[in-house]
């Protein structure tokens, strides 16, 4: 069959045409087209990489800021707590001091009163002794020698004191 026969002229023409076409298309189409596509792909992947980097950077910054904020809050709370405890201590100190002061005043007053009482008692004793001596000497007509009988008087007064 004619249809299935090969014509070597046709084959050579096909090769020649194909090779010329490939070189011409390479110059006018494949090289610029594929070059542009490669450039575009590089641009896109570079942009994507940049965007990713920027996002990572932003996330890092955000985390840093959050950490700083948390730190500041913690610091503030610590300060407040510290202030509170200082105030508490100061209050307790003041109260304690006041209490001690009051105690001191009370004790001093007690001591004063005691001293006063003793003085009064001593002078009263003296007074009583003098009166007794006077009265007795008048009663018995003899001057009671104060110095000689001092001991007896004192004993009797002391006996009063005990009864009272």
């Amino acid at each position: 069959m004619d249809l299935l026969s090969l014509n070597n002229g046709m084959i050579v023409w096909s090769w020649a045409t194909f090779i010329v076409l490939m070189f011409v298309l390479y110059r006018i189409a494949w090289k610029p087209l594929l070059g542009a596509v490669e450039t575009r792909e590089h641009t896109i992947s570079a942009s994507l990489k940049r965007a990713e980097e920027a996002q990572a950077e932003a996330e890092k910054l955000l985390a840093e800021q959050q950490k700083k904020l948390a730190d500041a809050q913690e610091e503030m709370q610590k300060l407040v707590k510290e202030g509170k405890s200082v105030a508490e201590k100061m209050k307790n100190d003041i109260i304690e001091q006041a209490r001690v002061e009051a105690q001191k005043i009370k004790e001093r007053a007690k001591a004063d009163i005691e001293k006063e009482r003793e003085t009064v008692i001593a002078s009263l004793k003296q007074e009583v002794a003098d009166i007794v001596v006077e009265a007795t000497s008048q009663l018995i007509g003899v001057a009671v020698d104060k110095t000689r009988h001092q001991k007896i008087i004192d004993d009797s007064i002391a006996g009063f004191g005990r009864k009272n």
Partner: protein, 276 residues
Amino acid sequence: MSLAILRDSGGEEHSEGGLGGYILHHLQDSNAWLGSHLPHFEPVTLFGISIDFSITTHVLMLWIASLILIVAFWLSFRKPKAVPTGLAGVLESIVLFIRDEIAVPNIGEKLGKKLTPFLATIFFFILTMNLLGLIPLFSTATGNLSVTAALAIITFVMTQAYGIKENGLGGYLKHLAPGGVPWFLLPIMVPIEILGLFTKPFALAMRLFANMVAGHTVIYALLGLIIVLGTVLVAPLSIAMAVAINLLELFVAFLQAYIFTMLSALFIGMSAHPEH
């Protein structure tokens, strides 16, 4: 197959063989196009082979297809743009499809990108010739076995060349004996592998040629029914069916261009990386 020139010489043989002869005549190459005779040269003898460089209709179709492609790509890509629009966008997406879906998966990243221009040229060349054949008055160069054989031989040469280039001559020859085969089967396997080298491009050439011829034959036969039956009443049916087949042919034009490109990439890839 004879390499001799068996082409019929003119257009005055319709009566021979009736409708079959008429269809055959229209599928074949000829020396005339649109009523004018094309230049005829005396056969030239090179290295003892007689070659007829006469310009035939199919040679003309090769050139018209090339011209269409060159003009289309020149118009599209003469001003480089960051993002192509219109025809340039369509052409670019097809080229990218060839690069990303045909070349790279079959041949590998590096070699695939390097061979994309070759595969894209094959694809667009075959596609344009297939589509030209669907236009009335034009003929289908890919319906000529010599043209498809020439293209298949180019693929064959590329396949062997990259097989040797990637694996070295030793590696190339070693892969003719497939691994994992018992030694006593080698006398059978090696001839089969060698035969396989040639059957692949043969099938490539035959597939494209037969697909193109078959579609046209069906269209001619359907329209020929009108003449054979001698009545115009069959015309509506004939024409409707012919239009349907024509639409199918449009699909086949793309499909066969794709298959030829795909298989070329596959063969080159298998040869360049036989371990896969």
